[in-house]
């Protein structure tokens, strides 16, 4: 392709290329799902969904705390639960040798999952 498609760039080219190049090369990983690594591929999908639910619970919890409708005791119990959830998630990630980056699957038209 010979056409230059950049119509406006008010910043530095490096800023652009450094950031977008990274997100594009991440999507190459989806070509690697094959019979050999299908199990860890499944673990990835399952854990990503679990992580999604955990983050939704987190968000909901923060809104509840913000609303001021909880007592300090309740806030503390909430903190304990959320912390334990997060630690459990870290354990699972370690067990399957997955990082936060691995769990963020690109859904194509939907953007990234997390």
């Amino acid at each position: 392709m010979n056409d230059n498609k950049v119509l406006v760039n008010s910043g530095s080219n490096d800023e652009y290329t450094n950031n977008v190049r990274k997100s594009i090369s991440d999507t190459d990983s989806k070509y690697e799902l094959n019979p050999d690594n299908v199990e860890s591929g499944l673990a990835k999908i399952v854990l990503t969904l679990v992580e999604l639910i955990r983050k939704l619970i987190d968000k909901q919890a923060m809104r509840r705390v913000e609303s001021g409708s909880l007592t300090e005791d309740e806030i503390e119990r909430l903190g304990e639960t959320l912390m334990k959830l997060e630690l459990k998630m870290d354990e699972l990630k370690n067990y399957f040798d997955l990082t936060d980056k691995d769990l963020n699957i690109n859904l194509g038209p939907l953007g990234d999952l997390l």
Binding site: V8, S12, N19, E66, E72, E76, L78
Partner: protein
């Protein structure tokens, strides 16, 4: 010549795009010399159903390597098609076994294909990316932990030091930071929509894609509106000197085609 023991699955058909045209009206000289990476024969041809055609070429099934140059070759084909036709790009790497199955697919999805073609008729896509300094933005919010802190000691004189309260505090700072970033992003999107309103675009926005990419947007607009788009982006830059805007295009309508009735 050919090895007659070759596997049944050795050859497949690679689809580039679907267009609205009849066979005898198609100018295939448009596509010469462009596809030796994907198809060793380099020949691109049409598979028709009614008034739509799939633009395809034959390929050795196992030979498709999804690297930069192959993908660019695929994109170049679509680019050339887009100069003369309304094009529905088909996801890179889609292979069919037979011409019959392609016709069947076109027939099964005919209505949706025609609807897609209608939506993109005489239109093209532009991309806008907005970059920011996330650290500067977050610092500007000046957030501090709140719960169980000094201020609260007055209300809760017996408040104990608690690792769980600390945990909630940390999460709360992050949460409020995210909420403030989100409302900042939404205000920029509002401005973008305002500046682009004259072009009456169909638009899609992705928020906070990375630490420095605040917004990634795509627009479907009438062809030949580059000057108005450039003007719109320059006015955005005037309003927000702390952000950087990158406008690219025109592109074939990759982001505005959808086929949902299959699963």
């Amino acid at each position: 010549m050919q090895n007659h023991l070759h596997n049944r699955s050795e050859m497949s058909i690679f689809i580039y795009a679907i267009i609205l045209v009849q066979h005898d009206q198609f100018d295939s000289s448009l596509l010469l010399e462009t596809t030796d990476r994907i198809s060793s024969s380099g020949v691109i041809y049409l598979v028709e159903w009614n008034s739509v055609s799939a633009v395809v070429s034959n390929i050795k099934t196992d030979s498709l390597t999804p690297d930069d140059s192959t993908v660019m070759e695929y994109a170049n084909v679509i680019e050339k098609l887009a100069k003369n036709y309304d094009v529905i790009p088909v996801r890179f790497g889609t292979l069919f076994k037979t011409i019959g199955s392609i016709k069947y697919m076109l027939k099964k999805n005919y209505t949706t294909i025609r609807q897609n073609l209608h939506i993109i008729k005489n239109k093209c896509e532009f991309g806008l990316k907005v970059f920011y300094d996330s650290k500067k933005l977050k610092d500007s919010f000046m957030l501090k932990p709140v719960i169980g802190q000094e201020e609260d000691k007055a209300n809760f004189p017996n408040a104990k030091k608690s690792v769980y309260l600390d945990y909630i505090n940390k999460k709360m700072v992050i949460h409020r930071c995210e909420e403030l970033c989100l409302s900042f992003t939404n205000s920029i999107i509002f401005d973008i929509k305002e500046c682009f309103a004259r072009l009456n675009p169909v638009s899609r926005f992705e928020k906070m894609v990375t630490d420095s990419n605040l917004i990634s947007a795509v627009f479907l607009v009438e062809k030949n509106k580059e000057n108005e788009l450039i003007y719109a982006v320059k006015s955005l830059k005037k309003r927000h000197s702390n952000l950087n805007f990158v406008l690219t295009g025109p592109w074939p309508p990759y982001n505005f085609v959808k086929l949902t009735n299959q699963l």
